[in-house]
Structures are given as structure tokens and as C-alpha cells.
Amino acid sequence: MADLVKLTIDGIPVEAAPGSLLIEVARRIGKEIPAFCYYDGFSQVAACRMCLVEIEGIPKLMTACTQPVGEGMVVRTETPKLAEARKGTLEFLLTNHPLDCPVCDKGGECELQDMVFRYGASESRYVEIKHHHDEQQWSPVVYFDPARCILCYRCVRVCSEGMGVNALGVVQRGAYAEIAPNHTDHLECDECGACIDICPVGALTSDTYRYQTRPWEMNHVGTICTHCSNGCKTTLGVRNDQIIRGNNRDRSGINGEFLCVKGRYAFDFNESEERLTTPMIRKGGKLEPASWSDAVRFVAGKLKQLKEAGRQIGVVGSGRVTNEESYYLQKFARQVLGTNSIDHERSGDVVTLLDALAGRANALATVDDLYRAKAVLVIGSDLAHQHPLLHWQIRANWRHHAAHTYSVTAGPVREDQHTVAAIRAAEGAEMNALEQLRDKLSAESELAIVFGDSVKGEAVRQLVSFGDSLGIPVKYVCLVDYVNSRGAMDMGIIPELLPGYQSAAAAGLPVGLTLPQMLANEHLGALWVVNADPLRNTRLAAKEAFVIVQDLFLTATAQQADVLLPSASLYEKLGTVTNVCGEVQRLTKAAQTMGAKADLEIIGLIAKELGMASQMGPWITDKVFAEMQQVVAGYNVPLPVIATGGAAQTLPPAVKIGVETDPALIRSARDTQFTSGTLGSYSKKLDSLLESPGSLYQGENVLALATQ
């Protein structure tokens, strides 16, 4: 690395890498140079002229947002001359600003307010008429108030550079220049809302948050988004147990400030009036409300009776509950109910991948690795629509580090905007197509491979051998669907494996039924479904089976329940979840729905009713987690890391798993950004956006980059 450059900023000597920008270096030493348009990670625009600084020997004021450090440079960031300049610029800015802070959503969090406060440009000498433009609604979620816009171009850049969507532009010129959406008067885009969050003022506002509250009236709770497997950190704005806003402006977590449409808007399922809040027991063919104690007693009694009768009990877990809950559920099933028929809807062949990588360190990519790897290969997924954070990371990697991207997919994908090579291959035919890339890939210095559910079973092993044959370090990501799909696998929510990928057969457990087998088994005595909807398009063969369902909503499965237990959402729980990259993160409880209980507690109460509480251990998340750390290989992750909002990756098992799983059981739900299994369908907001694009492999935004 080149030698560090020495300079002084406001009399403080600093060293910085050559080429670093003054504004960044100053920030590092706590000198906040004001700026509207500068935004790290995006292209420089130098338009707001707020970041002017004095550099000794240069008569002109220079913009710190474009000025690289220089050896011996003497920089001043706060002088009377600069304060004057900034005040003058603010005065210009305010001439056509509506000054409607009292009713503006951004009030209290507005960078323009802060700046005016700091430089005291509060007095206006402007007596002319302001030009006024009406507010416009660009989409069900995006509103634009041109009068408040200060033209910092952050929204335009986050949309084109960050997202690759290019839905925003600048039209007209001079004082009449305005941000405009891609379809004259409305937007057709990912509806990710990044433009709204990045707006330093209240020009872009969201339908969900508009006129709802003031920022200081909310609690800001950092937790993990409940929708897809990417596991974005989200900061929920909560008032009176109502979630009003989702964003991640503090950039904590693996996603920085990234969130997709679901993360930003689809939290409203949480307060849907369709939420279940009372346990129900079927009486005379009808579900009737019951008290928690009656319902739990009824479930326990039935389970006991069926167990004693030697009947098959099937347990269905899910990718939507916490690790602790999954762990506790399988423990209950296997130890208390004595059944090994436990499964969930499997969406990616994690087992084969981990088996193939057993004993290797550094073989699984983290979300951060996708931002840093020199090369990335995407197989069989339209990441922009299915795994938005991973897409964001890979794109940022290309933008910032010129990473090479390759894609092997069934249709056009957004990565095509910057891929070195894009190959079209039908699902299942990807492995053959891969050979065409061999030469290029082996010339890379390292590679991260991201693959979808069409690569499973033998194909996963082929993929790993292919990776090995390249002679470069390769890391993998096996794509899965839901927020804790990966955790469900890790916790042994499949009959073949115990937590931590221990063979169930080797441990002496009987062969259990897989999910399709349970549903098809006419002799099944009971089916216990925890936050899943396996009956949405299948009929249960065992007509007489006793059906217990824990869910937030009256799903197709819940409608067939004999006992229905309302459960809490992930936003109402404590515990941990494991994302698609095997990174464990911790939840914080943000809200509460009266009547609903966390699944962990529900299982605990049933255990207690059965007199098995002491065998099961306390249903307290931290206690369960402590047990998992001991028992589940890979989960001995440092608590302080995750307790402080970090992510800790689990390792592949040390030795071969040695258990074959049936690839036919693996099938992703192919949800896109605008659909999300069960929860998404209860989000009115997401529903209102369904018109927007989002179907896979449409490549609606893929245009030759030659035009950039």
C-alpha cells in the first residue's frame, strides 16, 4: 500500500490513504463538514456547495467532497469566512423552500433544519414570490413534494447506482429543474423506498409514514426484518405498539442502510385486523374462542392420548420462527412426543452443501463477502427480485471495487447490467453451462458462488468440485427462502438430522416422515403446524387427524385446525435467526399484540401441561440459546457479538454429515419482492404494490450499460 499522506485539519495532524476525500478524513477525526449532496458510496456531484473548506495556498474555497488529501495540506473546516459562505448558500436554498417544517414528516430529522440551526440562516431577506409546485403521488408508497426538494440528487443516485433501477431522473433546467419519475407522472420500480430514506429533507415521503407522527414520539427498535432470508437489520419506529416505520438510517447491521420494499413497508401485517388474538377450539365443526389455559390443556390432553395410543404425530416447523423456537420444537417432538416426523418446507439444499464443505473454514460467504469478493457468480436466481440485499451487495462490489460478476440464469437478470459474462441456461441445466465460464473463472483470484434451488443434490457436489478445480479460493451461498429457513435446517427441523447436522439414524431415532409423507399418510394421528401453511394447496390424507396450528393468521392450514393458537410475529419476539449466509443475528422485541404468544412460550406451556417442563428446560430465549451453543455444532457464536447487533457466521460441520436427503423435497417458493409467503399476503401495503414489476427473469431494467 502506498504511503499515507500527512495533512492537518483544523490544526489536528492526520494521516490518510492517498486519494481519500477531505470530507471523509475530517469526519474520521470528528469534524463534520456540512454537506447535502455528498453521500459516501455514491458518485460525487459537488452540487450543494456546503462542504467548502479553506486550503492554505489556494485562494478559492474548495469542496471537501471532491478534494483528495494532499501531502502537507493545511485545511480549515470552520472559519468565519466559511460560516458566511454556508449561511449564504442556505439563504439561497431557502428562497424557494416552503418552510413548512411544522407539518413536514422530516421535521426533527431534517438535514436542512439542522444546517440552518447550525449556521443561523434563519432570517429571510427574500420578499419575492416563491414558485410553487403541487405535491405528487408517484406510487402507492412514494410521494414527492418538489417545493421541498433541494436537488441533492441523492435519490437519483441511490436508484440508479445503488439499485440499478434508474427510475428517477432530473428534468427541466435551472431553477425549474426537478426530480422526475420514470413514467411521466408515476414510478415503475422496485418500490424499495431507498429514495425516501436517503432524502435529506422531506421532499420524498412515504405513504406509510406521512403525517403519522413526529420522529421523537417513536421508539426506535433495531431488529431483523421478518421477510426474506437475507436478514436485514431494520430499525422500527414504534408508537404505542404500532409499527409506523421501517428503515435503517443508522446503517447498523449487515445491510447498512439497505432495505427492500418488504423491509421498508411490509410491516403492516403486524397490525392487520386479521391477526389471530384468541385461541380457538373446534366444537361441533366450528372454531370457537377459548382461553389460553383451556386451549393448552386441550392440546396437551390430546397429544398425550394419541401418544399413548401409539399414533403417528407429525410436526411441521418453519423458516419463520426463531432458532430457539425451532430448537425447542424439535426437542419437544423428539423427546416429549417421541416422534421423529418433523419437517418444514425446504427451500435450498443446505445439507448437501455443508456436507461437501465439511471441515473447511472460509468456505461460506457472508453478506459482507459478496461486497468484497473479487468475483461473484450467480446461478439460478434473479437476485434483484428474490434476494434484494445480496443483489445490492454484489452491485456495490462492482461499483466500488470493480468486482467481476457472472450470471448463469434462466432469463435476463439485473446483474446483466454489469456482468463480465451472462449465460442463459434452463433450470437444472446450469451445471453444464458453467463449463463455458471455466477459463474466465480460473483466471480470477477468488470467487463467491451464489446458487438457487435448481442446484441441488448431486449438482451441489458437482458445483463444489467445479469450484475446487478452479484452483482459487471459492466461497458459497446456498439460497433459501425465509428469514430463518437456514436456522430451521441447522436446528434439525427435518427427520434425517438432529440439530447441528447430526444423523438422526445414527442417534438411534426411528425413521420419521417427511412433510409430504405426513400429509399423505392416512394413518396420521395428529399434525402440529408451527407458523407454516402446508395445506394451502394440498389436502391432508388423514381426515381424522387432530390438527394443531400456531399462526398469526387464519391460513388455509389454520382453517383446518382443531386447535388454533395465535402466535406472535418476529417483531414481537426475542431470539435469534440465521440468514441465508449462515449469519446468526438477534431480534429485539418491538411491539406486542394482545392475546398472541411467542411460539416458544406456547410450546413451553404445552410441555408444562404435560408435566415435562423440567425435562424441556425453561422457555426463555437466552437459556435456550445457551443450550444451543453447547449442543448445536456451529452455534457456539460469541454472544457479545450478536447481543450488540452484530452478525456471527456459523461454520460448516467439522466432519462429513453422511446423510442423504432427498433433493425432490427442496423447492423454493419463488417469492419475489412483492410477495412473501404468508406474511406478505397480509400486508395491505405490499398488496397495493402488486401491480409493479417483480416477476422473475423479466429483466425489465436490463439495458446495455454502454449507455451509461
Binding site: Q172, A180, H183, A706, T707
Partner: protein, 161 residues
């Protein structure tokens, strides 16, 4: 969208001036020559031009609304009378010509006659300062314009119809 033969030819000629990977460069010329040939720029044309140079329609619109000779969405008249009132013309009678034209035509800045024949625009310096006051009708320059000469020019336009 199908273009008239001649315009189609002009399109290939213009696009041919730039390396294929930079055909976006043709954007402004394509729009201007289309406006000249078709009399107006329509949303269909925007889409067509976007397709030809490989950009999104929004990117065309960004450019389109930036340049003052491109009139969108409202087209100008068949004869576009542009009167310069910038400083050299200001000193030599440009503003008086402007007043006169407004009165004679009954039009204001960027207004078009009801029959779409004539439009009027007060323009910035057109590069005729030493021969001011100057006006342009479509692409034709007229120098040292007197009120009488302006009258005559406007009369001619009506007859040209």
C-alpha cells in the same frame, strides 16, 4: 414508430457519427432533426428515440427538457419567430421589435397562433450581436432588423402559408 424515409436516413447518418457503444451521443441531434421534420416531439417519438440509442425514455426526457430549442410537450408553430433581446440587441432595438411582434401577432412568449402556423419566442443571444438587432425565423437569420423589416417578414409568413 415508423419514421418518414428522409428522417430515417438522417437517423442512420447521425447515429453513424459515433462509435456504436456511444450511440447515446446521437440523442440531441436525433430529437432536434425529428422536431424539424415532424413539427413536434411526441411521447411515441421519445420512446422510439430511446429505443434507437438504448436508453430509458426517462433519460430522453431528462435531455429533452434541458435544451431550449427542443419543445416538449407543446410544439411551436410551423414558422417559429425568435426575437433576440439580449444585450447587444437590447441596445439596438431588440425589445422594441419584441413588443411589435407581440402586438402584430397577438402572441406572447412561446405562444402559438391558433392555426399552428406562427409562434413567437423571446430568445437569448443568437450570435448576431454585431449585426443587431437580429431575429431568426426557423433557422434563417435576419440582421439589422428594423420595425418595417419585421412587419414585412411577418406579412410574408402569412402569405407563405
Amino acid at each position: 414508430m415508423t419514421l418518414p424515409q428522409e428522417l430515417e436516413q438522417k437517423f442512420s447518418e447521425i447515429i453513424g457519427k459515433y462509435p456504436p457503444e456511444y450511440k447515446k451521443s446521437a440523442l440531441v441531434p436525433l430529437l432536434l432533426y425529428s422536431q424539424d421534420a415532424l413539427g413536434k416531439i411526441t411521447p411515441e417519438l421519445v420512446n422510439e428515440v430511446a429505443r434507437r440509442v438504448g436508453v430509458f425514455p426517462l433519460q430522453v426526457e431528462e435531455v429533452l427538457t434541458y435544451y431550449s430549442m427542443l419543445h416538449f410537450p407543446k410544439p411551436m408553430g410551423k414558422y417559429h419567430v425568435q426575437i433576440c433581446t439580449n444585450v447587444s440587441c437590447q441596445l439596438t432595438g431588440g425589445p422594441e421589435l419584441w413588443e411589435l411582434a407581440c402586438k402584430r401577432l397577438g402572441l406572447g412568449h412561446k405562444e402559438v397562433s391558433a392555426d399552428g402556423l406562427i409562434s413567437l419566442e423571446e430568445v437569448e443571444c443568437i450570435g448576431a450581436c454585431s449585426w443587431a438587432p437580429a431575429i431568426q425565423i426557423n433557422y434563417d437569420f435576419h440582421h439589422f432588423v428594423t420595425p418595417e423589416k419585421l412587419d414585412e417578414l411577418l406579412d410574408n409568413l402569412r402569405q407563405l402559408q
